[in-house]
Point group: C2
Chain length 425, copies 2
């Protein structure tokens, strides 16, 4: 297939006309397809239904450290659940705090805690004037939302194929004591599906921030969310910070939202004992404890980490063909045109597509008019502002397969249309 | 039985000796009894177990406004749950927001939201210098804890048999614009079991605070938690504020923590649409949504308000004899001695006992040494400081009945011992 950039005006015009006809046909179908959010599809939800039936008249509600998990108490969760997450994260059970149904909420509360209480002997963040966070981008829009809610200034850090550009990170945190943290999705990053290299993790662990109260928000959302036979592996950040004496620098988060149910899963964080004490001061006023029966459901259903990993194979069986469909379609329709590049991740929930500079908004707009909803262009950047207007996050998990196929066909047509508009017909 | 105050030294001495012997006998038993927290007992937990089995392979997860309540979305909860709480609170469904498992957490988040965002066009509370809250006392220690966490100054307001002393409340809020709110448990108040009179509720609704951003935290924790045939009734605060145009002045909270399971129930708040918009701004960053499957469990189990009210009869059947045992024992052991007064509530979770001034700490200490744990003396006052050191909160719901009986026997002995020590033997 000829590269668009090599075409002359007449050829481009002809191609544009052909694509416009195809586009018009799709548009006439009055479709309503959604590739916007990283939501599991119905088939995925179904595989966890059995967990909902694990509480039976035979269930014993007494657990290792809880006399009756139907009652109040147990701020950090039941021991069995802490152990399950500890095994998943590769940390000690005493470093785990189990929360409610949302790791995002735990991240929000952690930032709130630092804002109001502070840490490492420094003043609370909200008493330090302007403070800043590093935001590797493209990244997760809801991370940026939390930072913005608290009035924290965001500094974009470029992503590389090995994770955030560590030269930039190291320099910024060493120079500027008003930089208090960084958002990371270290495995199968949202949206690119990049896993941080060993070197990147080691450099994170060895950071020497000017701010004593600098914190890494390590959102390990896709820690075991592989989708094929060649999964990525990620170094354990807590093993690394132990070597560098930086144990207090990291908060790690994860949840079962995309293992069992979004909204009815269990979230957890791991942190040094010092950091946990700080957090507990807040949580102790905030709640009497989280839903221990739902923790018990998870524990009873999975038994142990092997149980979770076996369960993830069922997710993989559903997701692998979907991701293949998306990347195959991109390959087939866009390869060699010089109008887009994309990632082919081994896990996670997204495929990240970079279209020609200045074209992302237009592609999203064209898709929308043809009934295909995508994540808003720019959403993957702080303040919703993608300086190149080129990144688009594609979420292949939610729509039924036949809809996904059609949505991707339309998406590719829109990428080409926008590209020709940009190149100039 | 003679009043202690009429006894001469020799009589008091003899009585003290006799009581000391009894006390020593109890102490020798090495007991471990707990009347500290308002936790439901095991028998109460058992009556809700069936709710845990209401999700079955036949369950339909699509609800009125949610395509699949196993998935993300639905920040304010499922419509059916909002309706259930709306019926309970006597408000419109559109004024209800369903949260996680803890109304305390919703109160904490509401205060946090006012601190960081503000309301009624005023600056956020945390940008207004010293701000204050009115705390009717004796009251709920965890309310005071939240206020203290956020550095809000607490002003004690005396309780009367009709609720907070409204002369004091009206004057303080009218005079001082730094007073931003008040904590209320309007029905079966914690710990006295007092229900606010119609006049009190009307006076609350008609408040004219100097601060435009003044808010009433109306914690209706025991809204349907009657324990006998003569339940109290409480005016609907939202009906009243509609008449006075003060709709934005009230946040109302409740939960099913003491209807189904503490920790695995569902919490909710009711507020004006303006206030809900303010809260949603925060919640929208904080979470993607709460556990809708647990909402569905409650909806499927109870069907409607009548289902909940029928369920409360089962709680009542368990609680009524316990409360009677406590108040009968107080009557039998302490009546006429002039050393204690107490409430005889028609609902709620506590009996409040006022011992001689300066004796509450001593009673709690004596009980503790004999193996009976009570809520710490002073806990029912802001900063844990009961100026008269006289109020003790007794929680009759948690211990097994035979333990409750023994605990109360010991409690009465301790009240008498402390009284004689105070009077002077």
């Amino acid at each position: 297939m000829p590269k668009y950039l090599l075409m002359d005006k007449a050829e481009l015009n002809e191609e544009y006309k052909k694509l416009s006809d195809t586009y018009a046909e799709y548009k006439a179908q009055g479709l309503s397809l959604n590739m916007a959010r990283g939501k599991p599809g119905e088939e995925q939800l179904n595989i966890s239904n059995d967990m909902l039936y694990t509480i039976t008249p035979e269930t014993v509600f007494q657990t290792a450290d809880c006399p009756d998990c139907r009652n109040y108490g147990g701020l950090t969760g039941i021991q069995e659940a802490r152990q399950l997450f500890a095994d998943m994260l590769g940390v000690h059970e005493k470093n785990v705090f189990i929360g409610g149904n949302s790791s995002l909420n735990m991240m929000f509360d952690t930032i709130a805690c630092m804002m109001e209480q502070g840490n490492s002997g420094e003043k609370p963040w909200n008493q330090q004037g302007t403070i800043k966070f590093l935001c590797p981008a493209p990244g997760y829009d809801r991370h940026f939302g939390v930072t913005q809610y608290f009035g924290i200034e965001m500094i974009t850090v470029p992503m590389t194929e090995n994770g955030p550009d560590m030269d930039v990170v190291e320099k910024l945190v060493a120079d500027d004591a008003s930089i208090k943290g960084i958002w990371c999705v270290p495995k199968y990053s949202n949206p690119q599906g990049i896993t941080y290299s060993d070197e990147t993790v080691k450099r994170f662990a060895a950071l020497k921030p000017a701010a004593k109260d600098f914190r890494i928000m390590w959102d390990n959302a896709y820690i075991i969310h592989d989708i094929n036979d060649t999964p990525d592996s990620l170094l354990n950040i807590f093993d690394e910070v132990k070597k560098t004496g930086n144990e207090d620098m990291v908060f790690e988060f994860c949840s079962t939202s995309k293992i069992t149910f979004p909204g009815a899963g269990v979230a957890a964080l791991a942190a040094s004992e010092t950091n946990l004490e700080i957090l507990k001061k807040r949580y102790n006023f905030q709640t009497i404890g989280y839903d221990k029966i739902n923790m018990l459901r998870h524990v009873n259903y999975f038994k142990n980490l092997d149980g979770i990993l076996a369960h993830m194979q069922k997710h993989r069986a559903i997701l692998e063909p979907r991701f293949n469909m998306v990347t195959d379609m991109l390959e087939k329709e866009l390869s060699g045109l010089g109008v887009a590049s994309w990632t082919k991740p081994n896990g996670g929930y997204f495929v990240s597509v970079d279209v020609l500079d200045g074209c992302a908004k237009r592609v999203v707009e064209l898709c929308k008019k043809a009934g295909v909803e995508l994540t808003g262009a720019g959403a993957t950047y702080p303040y919703g502002n993608d300086p190149k207007d080129s990144n688009i996050r594609v979420a292949p998990t939610y729509p039924p397969v036949e809809e996904l196929q059609k949505a991707m066909e339309i998406f590719c047509v829109c990428v080409k249309l926008a590209a020709i508009e940009k190149i100039g017909k």
